[in-house]
């Protein structure tokens, strides 16, 4: 390599430059005092912390520019703690930089590779000890050992089986049945079409049968969004149009992408937007995906009214709601 030959020469470590505190006792004394002051500031910070903890009221709020209304006790505790920690650090660093020896030291490195003799010895030892255990010859032991260790590896998998039940048909079904009333969430009141004005949105759930309670799991798959448009706004085929009632259309609120609640409705454009990943669905075209990563429309729930004039589901969802899964067939 040619550049090795005519390299510049390494001038070596530059000469050590003394600091003022090294030669001037006055400067050293000043540095010592500065360190002491920093330690004292830290002590003051701790005193502030203890004072705030014991003597300040926990419900006093003070207004500070930028920060706004701030809990005075939390602020004093925090600032006191911050000061006490910070100044200890500053004192130690200042001490090190001004008063501790600052001559650079050179230490030699050693190569990590072992000596050839040691390596050879190591290999010989392994061979000899392994040979004396008969690892090379006793294939029966070797094979059965492999089998037993391999099988043992399965044990944790089996033991973790009871973490949860089998999913069975869970992902394919919801609690919406033919004739289930739509009730408000919150409130659990059945609703009539005239409760919703044109342009209004409401979150509904299936009415509870007596003796049951609503869990978060139910909400996570049953939540439905009702939106009322003018009937002429729809751009639906005959079947989907028959699933609406007087301009009211119902969609699963659980995003078909990753299951977030599709909660943002823009009245002007009649778009539903999922705040997690911005999948956007066009309400007038049966929640067709018009933007974002979602690959499927939100499932539409067929609705109508019952004999008492309350909104009910015509039939269950015709497809699984929520994000995709392996067993999903469409």
């Amino acid at each position: 390599m040619s550049n090795e030959i005519s390299k510049f020469t390494d001038p070596g470590l530059p000469e050590h430059v003394h600091r003022r505190a090294d030669s001037d006792p006055k400067a050293a004394k000043r540095a010592e005092q500065q360190v002491a002051i920093l330690f004292l500031l830290s002590a003051a910070g701790t005193v502030l912390t203890i004072y705030a903890y014991i003597f300040m009221k926990s419900n006093t709020f003070i207004f500070l520019p930028v920060l706004g209304d701030t809990n005075a006790q939390q602020l004093a505790l925090g600032v006191g703690l911050a000061l006490s920690l910070f100044f200890i650090g500053m004192a130690a660093v200042h001490w090190a930089k001004t008063l501790m020896p600052d001559t650079e030291v050179i230490a030699e490195r050693h190569e990590f590779r072992s000596e050839d003799v040691d390596r050879a010895d190591f290999v010989a030892t392994v061979k000899e000890q392994g040979g004396s255990a008969g690892l090379g010859r006793r294939t029966l032991i070797k094979r059965t050992m492999g089998l037993s260790l391999g099988l043992l590896g399965l044990a944790p998998l089996v033991l973790l089986r009871d973490l949860g039940p089998m999913p069975k048909k869970y992902f394919n079904t919801t609690d919406w049945k033919s004739g289930t009333r739509l009730v408000t969430d919150p409130g659990d009141r059945p609703i009539k079409p005239e409760d919703l004005e044109v342009g209004a949105v409401a979150q509904v759930l299936p009415e509870l049968t007596s003796g049951t309670e609503r869990t978060l799991e139910n909400i996570g798959k049953d939540a439905v969004l009702l939106i009322r448009l003018r009937p002429e706004d729809f751009n639906l085929d005959a079947e989907r149009l028959s699933w609406t009632h007087e301009g009211i259309i119902a969609f699963s609120k659980i995003c078909s992408h990753m299951g977030c609640a599709v909660a943002l409705y823009e009245q002007q454009t009649k778009h539903l937007l999922c705040p997690c990943h911005q999948s956007t669905f066009d309400v007038t075209r049966a929640a067709k995906v018009i933007f974002g990563p979602a690959a499927r429309p939100l499932p539409q729930l067929a609705i109508t009214v019952d004999a008492d004039g309350f909104l009910v589901a015509q039939k269950p969802f015709t497809e699984p709601i929520g994000p995709s899964f392996w067993e999903r067939s469409s």
Partner: protein, 530 residues
């Protein structure tokens, strides 16, 4: 001997007779550490970890990791009588009733953000200076492991309060599990103990967050530091610094004081942030319910790139033979991150293969002197930053009056177009900087002083640089491209074959550089016209 000396001597004797520690300590207390600001980045990560352990332990004294439903009747009036999980209620209690509780929560969260940021910046420093090269490949692998676990640990941590924002994040994690082919729905049911959300996940992730992962962290960090200790720290090139030595300050007392002091400074700054800068105000979000959501749902920053990739994914799903594969989740959520992190972990081995360099390296590279590596790093960073930008597309849209469409399409194209551009530009900049170094060494520093020559020509006076500087700029070894033996005359293919050719091509890219000036060249110039 004074009383104090005798007491100290007695104690030291007592310990040494039982451990033989004196010999080890004698050797290691004078251990030399080189000094550079960029070596403090890893320290910040370490100290943040200690802060996390301390504040985290404090929080466990009051946090109730349970999804049992309770009715809130604490100090925070807006949520009075609201049904919520015990986890959420106890987080409210820590925030409003435990003195210093909110402070500790906020310090804990800030420390987590700083921990991750410090790991990333430390990783970049190690990458761009080539500190991962032999013999430090193991420590690079441990570092990548710590980064990966840190992302998981952070995500689990901010999921614990069971508020509306964190529950939404867990919902997305469940959807990723559910999307895994064949076993997805089973994995989701096992992880959540049944249907989402269930009442199992908070206690489970609590154990993982406070016991399992911190334990693994402790083990990995210990090995990481022991290797640094044993292999001795790398150092930047400079006069007197060689591959065979390490130049710096001894551990006792200077480094102990500086590093110990720096711990307190990091803790102090984090505590200050916790005191004045509100973070994750969970009382504003309300308890989690799957039917609700808040606009502008954002993960913490170190998850943002992942969310950004998911957001920009095209709506691709395959439906066939009664099964569904969600490419729109699998590619951005699992496959791409898997490739990125595997590539990052293997990079030291890939580079060593490409360059054929099997030597030990203890002197760091100046990034410009490894143009190809630096360009690869900036390329990857560009990819991550574009993903991160899209992860905040809703916030960016409202702040800069853009539409989400514009940002999404910019990042969709940008993800493929900008990284290669960043590669080329970075490589050119590195080569230009090499040229500037060469110019500086051979012709000296531009002084800005103009001189009029007798015949009227103006020239700028150049001042030669110091021998120290000249050495620093020229000491590096310049790699040479590997050559492939051509097919022999009888048409027998070179055994290295296609693999050898690819390797030679990569090695050529790595060896592209401006020849470093030599002493001979400088002598010629000086002996000549000037």
């Amino acid at each position: 001997m004074s009383v104090k000396d005798r007491a100290v001597g007695g104690l030291a004797n007592y310990v040494d007779e039982r451990t033989g520690a004196a010999k080890w300590l004698k050797k290691n207390l004078t251990k030399v550490f080189p000094d550079h600001w960029s070596f403090m980045l890893g320290e910040i990560a370490l100290y943040s970890f200690i802060i996390l352990l301390l504040t985290g332990t404090f929080l466990t004294f009051w946090f109730d990791p349970s999804q049992r439903e309770v009715i809130y009747n604490g100090n925070y009036a807006p949520l009075s009588q609201v049904h919520m999980s015990a986890a959420y209620a106890s987080t409210l209690r820590i925030s409003f009733e435990v003195r210093g509780g909110l402070l500790m929560r906020q310090i804990h969260h800030w420390a987590a953000l700083i921990f991750m940021a410090a790991i990333v910046v430390h990783l970049l420093r190690v990458f761009f200076t080539g500190a991962f090269r032999k013999p430090r490949e193991f420590n690079w692998l441990i570092g990548v492991g710590l980064l990966t676990l840190g992302i998981v640990e952070g995500f689990l941590g901010y999921s614990l309060p069971d508020d509306l924002l964190s529950g939404t994040g867990i919902r997305i994690a469940e959807a990723i599990l559910q999307a895994i082919p064949v076993v997805g729905s089973y994995l989701a049911f096992f992880a959540f103990g049944g249907p989402f959300p269930g009442t199992a996940f908070i206690p489970r992730i609590y154990t993982v967050h406070v016991l399992l992962l911190p334990g693994i962290f402790l083990g990995l960090i210990t090995i990481h530091l022991m290797l640094v200790w044993y292999q001795k720290h790398t150092q930047y090139p400079g006069p007197g610094r060689t591959e065979k030595n390490v130049v710096g300050y001894p551990l006792m007392p200077v480094y102990m004081a500086k590093a110990g002091g720096f711990f307190f400074i990091v803790f102090g700054v984090t505590a200050f942030l916790g005191a004045v800068a509100s973070i994750n105000p969970i009382w504003l979000y309300g308890p989690y319910t799957p039917g609700q959501i808040s606009a502008g749902s954002q993960p913490d920053w170190y998850m943002g790139w992942l969310d950004g990739l998911v957001r920009m994914s095209p709506p691709l799903e395959t439906h066939a033979f009664g099964h569904t594969i969600s490419w729109n989740i699998l590619i951005p959520g699992l496959i791409l991150p898997g490739i990125l992190f595997t590539g990052m972990a293997l990079y030291p081995f890939i580079e060593s293969w490409m360059t054929g360099d099997k030597r030990e390296h203890h002197l760091l590279d100046r990034p410009r002197n490894a143009p190809n590596r630096t360009a690869l790093g900036v390329m990857s960073l560009t990819f991550m930053i574009i993903s991160l930008i899209n992860g905040g597309n809703d916030v960016i849209a409202t702040h800069f009056h853009l539409t989400i469409n514009q940002i999404m399409w910019f990042t969709r194209f940008g993800l493929f177009l900008l990284p290669p551009i960043a590669f080329v530009v970075t490589k050119r900049i590195c080569l230009s900087l090499q040229r500037a170094d060469r110019e500086l060494v051979l012709h000296g520093r531009e002084t800005g002083r103009l001189l009029m020559l007798p015949h009227g020509e103006f020239v700028e006076v150049h001042e030669p640089i110091s021998p120290e500087k000249a050495w620093t700029l020229t000491q590096h070894l310049q790699p040479e491209a590997l050559t492939v033996a051509p097919d022999d005359l009888n048409g027998v293919r070179n055994p290295a074959g296609l693999k050898g050719k690819i390797r030679a091509r990569f090695s050529m890219a790595h060896a592209e550089q401006i020849a470093a000036p030599t002493a001979k060249e400088k002598n010629e110039i000086e002996g000549g016209h000037h």
